[in-house]
């Protein structure tokens, strides 16, 4: 099992991308999911649906529209240019943005469900114990939503690792910059370099398995407590 320098670069880039995207998504989706879990507004249904939208378009097609949207002639591209912010396509930042968009629903959903499951009661108890809304969130909501956060992280991470169509489109397959491992494996397969594809795939599967099994073992420990300490 020999890995080429390009393979190793791709692995490194993938880890960087997936970790960054997961962290950013968790941060970004927390308020969205919280709002969706608590609001009574009629906007809830539509916004929930919008969150799931990136899913229904084929990734490459989504990538195409992203290209149009972010490109120099697209509305977002012009906005960014107006503020003198570098263009996103064909850059690592572009990959991050695109991956975040595409993995958004997988992070919002578990968080939202976890927040719903917590209910009002523990928050009320905390409020009477001088815990401000922010403090409540940190010390009551977060620990109680741990399972949801782990699910969200797992789905977000795994999906970003495997994500490919959008990346291919928005990334432009630039080594060290946007050529992630999924693209690398794809190239191997398309180029009939099956041996290399097998090696890389295996590596990726093993690595991901270890990461996920670790994440889940945390969840399992947490679950034991939760079931024992379940809401009265």
């Amino acid at each position: 099992m020999q890995l080429s320098a390009a393979d190793i670069e791709a692995i490194w880039l993938t880890l960087k991308l997936a970790s960054l995207v997961t962290v950013l998504l968790i941060i970004l989706c927390t308020p969205i999911a919280w709002w969706l879990a608590r609001t009574q507004s009629w906007l809830k249904g539509p916004i929930n649906a919008v969150v799931a939208m990136p899913l229904v378009l084929p990734p490459t097609v989504l990538g195409f529209y992203l290209l149009l949207f972010l490109g120099p002639e697209g509305p977002m591209g012009q906005l960014l240019a107006y503020f003198n912010i570098g263009s996103l396509p064909f850059s690592f930042s572009g990959l991050v943005v695109a991956s975040m968009l595409y993995s958004l629903p997988f992070v919002v959903q578990p968080l939202q469900n976890a927040f719903i499951a917590i209910g009002e009661r523990p928050l009320e108890a905390a409020a009477t114990l001088r815990s401000s809304p922010w403090n409540r969130f940190i010390y009551v909501v977060l620990p109680l939503a741990k399972t949801g956060y782990i699910s969200a992280a797992v789905l977000g991470f795994a999906h970003t690792v495997g994500e490919f169509g959008v990346v291919l489109m928005i990334g432009g397959n630039i080594p060290k910059e946007t050529k992630v491992i999924s693209v690398q494996i794809y190239d191997h397969v398309e180029a009939l370099e099956y041996g290399q594809a097998h090696t890389l795939s295996l590596l990726m599967v093993i690595f991901s398995f270890v990461v996920l099994a670790f994440l889940y073992s945390i969840q399992r420990r947490q679950k034991r407590q939760a079931s024992a300490g379940g809401l009265l």
Partner: protein
């Protein structure tokens, strides 16, 4: 009703506690009292807990809470009323857990500090309350210990009147501190919840049936502690209870709710002694006698309370000669006779005058006799047959035999 000495005394007692005038407004009984009567307007929040709320739940229920209360800022105030009468809802309003109904002129303030008005809302976590929920409501992800720690870390450090070790010992929870709420029994959970609410060092304690899940023996331990604690810390307690016994024992002031409205309200003693109040449905009316300890006998374990030239023997406690003591005497424990019988095991035989008699509507076999020992009123519940055969009538002088006596404070 005359402004009889006992009322003076009780109010006097309250004055002492309040270090100020005890403002009291009784909608239903309309009894004038020595305390300064104030018709409170919204703009003018008085000392104590001022509450005016109109609250409706969203959804099916046609329940609404609609009341206007001025509660003392010291001692225990009992919220009493049948299941579903709005006791929990009221506590939740006070703690800021129920949202205001739109357009209502709600008003809540404690000791002049405004918590809520038509255009103001103090968030729950800024109201210095300690709340014991009816269902404990511990944090399921924290052990009992960490539930307490949660509270301690957020406690008001400027008035740390309540000490961890005391609370843990009293509530007998030392052995279960490492367990998660899901691993605790119902009563254990409730005790941890109580400890948690105390350790936040509140300025008012809201307790929603905290003792319902506890056995008598434990109640006997916890109740006096609570009383002392709140007395010492000078924090008022709003205490929801179904047990009239508990209420009588604990509460200086009480509010009776029914269907979200105040049915009666006022000093516990006065409320309960008023014949024909809503308490007819509850068996055990009782009265309080206040006085000073005049004699003690350690051999027999008894003390004697002197009041208006008579004495009552009671079980000796920590009181010393000269102390002021309040005794509770239940109507079912008083019998009357026309003469004093020295050969009976009943120690207490007071000379009394019949002030009033009233048939019990619900139980025609019984009459409630209101007796005056001097100016102190007592209630005796006796059979109608006895009343008839002894030819009892108003103004008659009798001997009241008192079997047992409970010390209140």
């Amino acid at each position: 009703m005359r402004s009889s000495p006992h009322i003076v005394f009780i109010n006097g007692h309250l004055f002492v506690c309040c270090a100020g005038f005890f403002v009291q407004y009784s909608k239903t009984t309309k009894t004038p009292s020595l305390s300064r009567r104030v018709t409170v307007t919204v703009k003018q929040p008085a000392k104590g807990l001022n509450i005016r709320v109109f609250q409706q739940h969203t959804g099916q229920s046609n329940f609404s809470l609609d009341l206007d209360l001025q509660l003392p800022n010291t001692g225990v105030t009992a919220l009493f009323g049948p299941s579903g009468s709005g006791k929990t809802t009221l506590l939740r309003c006070i703690a800021g857990l129920e949202k205001s109904v739109k357009g209502s002129t709600n008003h809540i303030s404690l000791n002049g500090e405004l918590w809520q008005s038509h255009d103001f809302w103090l968030a729950s976590h800024k109201r210095p309350v300690g709340y014991v929920f009816q269902d404990a409501n511990l944090f399921p992800h924290l052990t009992a210990q960490d539930n307490l720690r949660f509270s301690i870390q957020r406690a008001d450090k400027t008035q740390p009147a309540i000490h961890y070790d005391d609370v843990v010992e009293l509530l007998n929870i030392a052995s279960i501190l490492t367990q998660y709420p899901g691993q605790l029994s119902g009563g254990e959970r409730q005790r941890v919840a109580m400890a948690r609410a105390l350790l936040i060092q509140p300025k008012i304690l809201l307790m929603d049936e905290p003792l319902a899940a506890l056995d008598d023996a434990l109640k006997q331990d916890i109740l006096p502690y609570l009383e002392r604690l709140c007395h010492r810390a000078k924090i008022p307690i709003l205490y929801v209870s179904h047990s009239l016994d508990e209420v009588i024992r604990l509460a200086d002031y009480m509010v009776v709710l029914e269907k979200g409205r105040v049915l009666e309200e006022g000093n516990t003693q006065r409320l309960i002694s008023t014949l024909g109040t809503s308490f007819a449905r509850y068996q055990d009316a009782s009265m309080v006698v206040s006085g000073t300890v005049v004699e003690q006998n350690t051999e027999w374990g008894l003390s004697w309370l002197g009041f208006e030239n008579q004495t009552i023997a009671f079980k000796q406690g920590k009181e010393a000669i000269g102390d002021s003591v309040r005794l509770r005497i239940q109507s079912r424990d008083i019998s009357v006779s026309l003469s004093k019988h020295e050969d009976s095991s009943i120690l207490n035989r007071l000379t009394v005058v019949i002030d009033d008699m009233e048939k019990d509507n619900k139980d025609p076999s019984m009459v409630m006799v209101r007796l005056l020992a001097g100016n102190t009123p007592l209630l005796a519940k006796i059979t109608a047959l006895s009343a008839h055969s002894l030819k009892l009538e108003k103004g008659q002088t009798l001997v009241a035999q008192i079997k047992s006596v409970a010390v209140l404070s």
